[in-house]
């Protein structure tokens, strides 16, 4: 089976595209890092790809709020292409800055509502933070990510604006009821990872940013669009993990992603 082409758009300030490409490749995909300008000129088309991965970084330096500027560009320049990608059920994954973009663009948890009721904002501690966390894939709605449902993943977070906040507690309940929580921060421990681990229950640093209901990632109701703040692409090789349990690789996320793109 030939490797499905995976589009990894690069905007000014994108920086975890290299690791995202490595993870996609290890999962059997054919990663293609393409600058937004090339997409805009039409040199490369969204439609020629089986899936889209928006990587981490600081697009436009996080000016005017993380992800907001790129979200605006995606909507104004690529609104139709994105809609077609989603309508075709192609997997769309956003990591860290890519997740911020998808939320600010109204694609997560979606559908686009006006005004938006979910956002990613400054960490509760008011600063950028880099540390390893433990996640559980918690997706409740049918999704390409369901292939990895229940997986426990250890990987780093590295962000300053990763706190999920909602306009109203009702919104949290709705997200939970519809099974749109894709990833949840879990309590870590030196012991082997095993389900059931307890959710972090808001406790720092297991939940590093104060996200409501320990939400680390979201998906949309049709299950094609998924995003998360932590970086499973930084734990796809065994030597990448620090001391602790000898498991919890992030590769299952990318295997599910590439698998659905075939």
């Amino acid at each position: 089976m030939s490797a499905p082409p995976i589009l990894i758009p690069h905007a000014s300030g994108t920086n975890r595209d290299g690791e995202a490409a490595q993870a996609v490749e290890l999962a059997g995909g054919d990663p293609r890092i393409v600058h937004i300008n090339e997409l805009r000129r039409g040199d490369v088309a969204f439609a020629d790809h089986a899936a889209v991965l928006l990587p981490g970084g600081f697009s436009y330096g996080d000016a005017l709020g993380a992800g907001g500027r790129l979200a605006l560009e995606l909507r104004t320049w690529f609104g139709e292409e994105l809609a077609a990608t989603v309508a075709a059920g192609k997997p769309l994954l956003g990591i860290c800055n890519g997740f911020q973009v998808l939320v600010k663009a109204g694609l997560l948890p979606g559908p686009m509502s006006a005004p938006r009721e979910v956002t990613l904002t400054e960490n509760a501690r008011g600063r950028f933070e880099c540390r390893w966390v433990t996640l559980r894939v918690d997706v409740g709605t049918p999704s390409w990510l369901s292939a990895a449902h229940g997986a426990l993943i250890r990987c780093p977070v590295a962000h300053g604006e990763g706190r999920i906040a909602v306009a109203d507690p009702r919104v949290t309940q709705e997200i939970e009821d519809r099974g749109l929580v894709a990833f949840r921060y879990m309590h870590t421990g030196a012991a082997p990872l095993e389900d059931p681990l307890k959710p972090a229950d808001g406790a720092y640093p297991a939940n590093p940013n104060g996200s409501v209901n320990d939400i680390a990632g979201l998906c949309d109701a049709p299950g094609a669009v998924v995003g998360l703040m932590p970086h499973p692409e930084d734990h796809v090789l065994s030597w990448q993990r620090p001391s602790g349990p000898e498991e919890g690789a992030g590769l299952p996320v990318f295997e599910a992603f590439v698998g659905a793109a075939r």
Binding site: R16, E19, N37
Partner: protein, 951 residues
């Protein structure tokens, strides 16, 4: 028309931070602080369009509230803060671009922050909070109430070139001219310039004089490090030796040439040193300082410090892959009454510097993996900020020869008055015009522009689009172009240089130190490809001129001649300096005796130099690029300090070689003996590197000297002794210096900083599977001590904590390599489960840190080595490490370590750190016969001391 938009977040961490910090600056009555972002928008924009801008870009509907028009009524007192004109304002720029993307009317934007302060606070309290917490008048303006916006002006350039008559000036007048124009040239140098232009029969232009001053500056040409120096060295017994030193830099280079290992690719000739990584790739390494800017504007100073050293890596065609930073600050708890006027509090400097480093490195996508923080009162007026960067390049891919006809191309940021004579411009009287002309001495960085340069340079290198490259740093174009064109000559036209704002004179464009620029020599037939590449990556390209072959530096601006000088005079005309240095050794004084106890161990762990820096380190991304193997903090709870960083560069997965970065710095030793300080710093860097699996035979080092005024003989004397320590160390450790940097004149009010040498090491871990850290041990493992202790406590942490008055410093090792080779063989053989070096606080701190890192008890009998219990526990003799190994490997470890290693204890499945120390009277009796004192602390107490938390 102009209108204002205020946006406030519902919950607001920054406001909470101001509230928490207010009591620390003496305002206990602040009860609330709410921060708003303010956007002043100018242009023919409709109310509907403004609403759209808010909905689409400015206002997050979930967390933000906003108002349009007048500022919202304040419940208390309001302070507004805005960047000065010309200071990077990314939000304003991006809002202008967003409006254009949305198809709205063209707008100009100016931003501000508004702080609504509540509580019983008077005008003085508001002023204190503003000055100490909210605004920095080096780059910002602030007012209580509403601040009028300033938009970039439209003034056109009335370009002119001024002539500076020199012919008739006396020596005094030459000196006065140098002082008034901040040329920093001495009278000899001014006379040489006077004679040159007398020969040309014309006065120099302003730009020519400035170009010479830049090119001949201490910063660019290292006058002190090239000078002939006479050193008078008075030994402790009064013996006086006078020696001649034919240049400090040549002495450092000479050792490198003498050692010349096969894996050395390039040393001292370029922006960074280069060594081989594997058969396909080389590593480039450089460490710079950004001290003075960081003292004035900590965030911007450190920000641009990172940016500068990353460009040094680009300047040797390498892709930056990691950052390091070593910081020296005044004590965080310095009482306000000890703070000199005009100096920012050390706490504020630290917080700003840390934020600045994190902001730039994180946004470039570079892991910040190694560093140190040192606190000492000697750095209050003059903090030190060392920024390092590591790069990776395909072997042999860095071109260094421009050809006649090649274009001189600049890529990256636009030019403003940044860095020009910053110190001489007054920041008083802030109306629009003066603010415009002041520009800023210190700039806030623009990492996203630099990130674009990184992407373009890597691709341009791989497509062989340029024949030479250098970064634009101090001196701006004048240095970068002047150096690149040294052999061939260049002709430059400044008229096409894109400016941040209008009104710059030609000499200002030529000298501007605007950040984020790279200069390349590009063959004309490659220029279209480079232009396309730059367009693709949103990087601005400027064609400045061409390489001529006439060996002259010619710069013009729309027909005006700005500079016209022979390259030979610019680069070889500088007369060499003769300087004198003096150093007197101090006679050793017997230190006060002290009996160690558990309290002392906790006090050592709690000392700011030792205590956990996690609070700082976690603000840096140390994971990006997915190659970090040994992280800054290790162990099951990721809170034990690592010795060095090991990283596997992305894209080198075809083998198991990894890179290792470490550092050594011990300024406390330097007070007593700068020569020993250099050797001990080298040892610290090497032992840290070996501790994580680095090969001691594949290490290259960088020197970074931060010193006081070298025209004062005592300062220069200490500096020479430190350089001698470096050259002696390079020979003893067989480690070449591959690059370096000196930052001199670090004085405040005539007080020099502690002469401080940072040694940064780069090396290889041959097989990353054998990279280890300080936490990998298991209960039941043996603990071994490598190396022997010494009595000297001068410059040690315990001397600083107990004020023992010790002056004798540890004796450097004569032949250090055998022990490091032995340990490396044991680590490479997979025998060692954990290793940690003994540095600040000696064995006591090393063992406690390992116990914390591994969350495992350690029971150790510390060998007396003829010392009293205090010395045995806390001496900082070089070449010592604590390592762990399985008891099943006991014989193999004993064989590998030979006489260097002694088995001293065991890792336990408990929570006790127990150190058995032979009593002083019995120390000579040997380990087994002596009576002992047992010092014991729990891991919980040790951790509490180390992290500053509660037990």
């Amino acid at each position: 028309m102009t209108l204002r938009i205020d946006v406030t977040a519902a919950d607001d961490p920054e406001g909470a931070q101001v509230l928490a910090a207010a009591p620390l600056v003496g305002v206990a009555t602040l009860t609330g602080c709410r921060v708003s972002r303010v956007y002043h928008v100018a242009g023919e924009i409709s109310a509907d369009e403004i609403d759209r801008l808010c909905a689409e870009v400015l206002v997050d509907p979930v967390v933000d509230r906003h108002s349009i028009g007048d500022p919202p009524a304040s419940v208390g007192r309001a302070v507004e803060v805005a960047p000065m004109a010309g200071v990077t304002d990314a939000d304003a720029r991006e809002l202008e671009r967003a409006a254009s993307q949305l198809g709205l009317a063209e707008i100009q934007v100016s931003t501000a922050r508004r702080y609504d302060l509540e509580g019983d606070i008077d005008e003085t309290a508001v002023a204190t909070i503003t000055r100490r917490l909210l605004a920095n008048d080096t780059i910002e303006r602030s007012v209580e109430g509403a601040l009028e916006p300033i938009f970039a002006g439209e003034a056109s350039v009335d370009a002119s070139v001024d002539l500076v008559p020199l012919a008739s000036l006396s020596d005094d007048e030459l000196e006065a001219l140098s002082r008034d124009r901040v040329l920093s040239l001495d009278v000899n140098e001014m006379r040489v310039i006077q004679a040159h232009f007398a020969g040309e029969d014309r006065p120099p232009t302003d730009a020519e004089l400035e170009t010479l001053a830049q090119t001949w500056s201490e910063h660019c040409v290292h006058k002190t490090f090239r000078a002939r120096i006479e050193l008078t060295h008075t030994a402790a017994d009064g013996t006086v030796t006078v020696t001649e030193h034919d240049g400090l830099l040549p002495a450092l280079r000479e050792v490198t040439e003498e050692l010349d290992p096969w894996w050395l690719r390039s040393a001292f000739v370029d922006d960074a040193g280069i060594i081989a990584f594997d058969e396909d790739f080389d590593l480039a390494f450089k460490v710079e300082t950004h001290n003075h800017p960081s003292a004035l504007e900590p965030f911007g100073g450190a920000n641009t410090g990172v940016g500068g050293v990353v460009r040094d890596i680009l300047g040797v065609s390498a892709r930056p892959i990691a950052c390091t930073d070593v910081l020296c600050f005044g004590p965080s708890d310095l009482p306000d009454d000890r703070l000199p006027t005009g100096v920012l509090h050390p706490r504020r400097i630290r917080d700003g510097v840390v934020a600045g480093i994190g902001d730039y490195g994180n946004k470039l996508g570079l892991p910040t993996v190694n560093g140190a923080v040192i606190y000492h009162e000697g750095y209050v007026g003059n903090p030190l900020v060392y920024c390092g960067a590591l790069g990776l390049l395909p072997a042999g891919s860095h071109p260094t020869e421009a050809h006649i006809g090649d274009r001189v191309i600049s890529i990256g940021g636009r030019v403003g008055r940044d860095g020009i004579h910053g110190a001489t411009f007054s920041s008083a009287g802030m109306d629009a015009s003066t603010v415009d002309s002041v520009g800023s001495a210190v700039q806030i960085g623009d990492p996203i522009t630099e990130k674009g340069c990184i992407e373009v340079v890597e691709r341009a290198r791989d497509a062989r689009l340029y024949t030479a490259i250098t970064d634009c740093g101090a001196g701006g174009f004048s240095s970068a172009v002047g150096e690149m064109g040294e052999d061939l000559g260049v002709e430059i036209d400044l008229a096409g240089v894109p400016l941040k704002y209008p009104g710059l004179q030609p000499w200002e464009i030529w000298l501007s130190e605007a950040q984020e620029r790279i200069v390349m020599a590009v063959p004309p037939d490659k220029l279209p490809a480079l232009q396309t590449l730059c367009d693709d990556w949103d990087v601005e390209l400027t064609d400045l001129g061409h390489f001529t072959g006439d060996e002259r530096l010619r710069v013009g601006y729309e027909g005006l001649s700005v500079v016209d000088m022979p390259m030979a005079f610019l680069h070889d005309g500088l007369p060499r300096r003769d300087m004198v240095g003096a150093w007197s050794d101090v006679a050793p004084v017997a230190p006060v005796a002290h009996t160690p106890d558990a309290k002392l161990v906790l006090a050592l762990l709690a000392h700011p130099d030792v205590a956990s820096k996690e609070d700082i380190v976690r603000r840096y991304d140390h994971e990006v690029r997915g190659g970090t193997i040994v992280r800054p903090y290790v162990g099951p709870e990721a809170d034990g300090p690592a010795d060095a960083a090991v990283i596997k560069p992305l894209g080198t997965g075809h083998n198991t070689i990894a890179a290792v970065l470490s550092n050594g710095i011990c300024p406390r030793v330097g007070f007593h003996d700068p020569w020993a300080m250099a050797l001990l710093a080298i040892d610290e860097a090497v032992r840290n590197l070996v501790a994580v699996g680095g090969d001691p035979d594949r290490v290259a080092v960088l020197d970074n000297f931060c010193w006081g005024d070298p025209t004062k003989p005592d300062r220069l004397g200490g500096l020479i002794r430190a350089v001698q320590g470096c050259t002696d160390g390079a020979r003893r450790y067989a480690m070449p210096f591959i690059s370096g940097k000196d930052s001199l004149f670090n004085e405040f009010d005539g007080q020099a900083i502690p002469g401080t040498l940072l040694i940064s090491a780069v090396g290889l871990v041959p097989d990353m599977a054998h990279a280890i850290n300080s936490a990998g041990m298991h209960p039941g493992d043996d603990l071994w001590l490598v190396g022997r202790g010494g009595a000297a406590l001068g410059g040690s942490l315990v001397d600083a904590v107990l004020d023992l008055g010790a002056t004798e410093v540890p004796q450097p090792l004569d032949d250090p390599l055998p022990r490091y080779r032995a340990l490396h063989a044991a680590i490479s053989g997979g025998l060692i489960t954990a290793a940690h070096d003994c540095s600040d606080g000696g064995v006591a701190v090393a063992i406690a840190e390992m116990a914390i890192a591994a969350r495992a008890g350690v029971h150790v009998t510390v060998p007396a080595d003829g010392l009293d219990p205090l010395g045995a526990l806390t001496n900082e003799a070089p070449g010592r490490l604590v390592v762990a190994a399985s008891p099943s490997d006991r014989d193999a470890v004993a064989a590998a370590l030979g006489s260097f290693g002694r088995r001293v204890g065991e890792v336990m499945d408990d929570d006790r750190i127990a150190m058995r120390v032979p009593d002083a009277d019995d120390a000579a009796a040997g380990l087994d016969q002596a009576s002992h004192t047992i010092i014991e602390v729990s891991i919980a107490d040790a951790l509490a001391a180390f992290t500053g938390g509660d037990a």
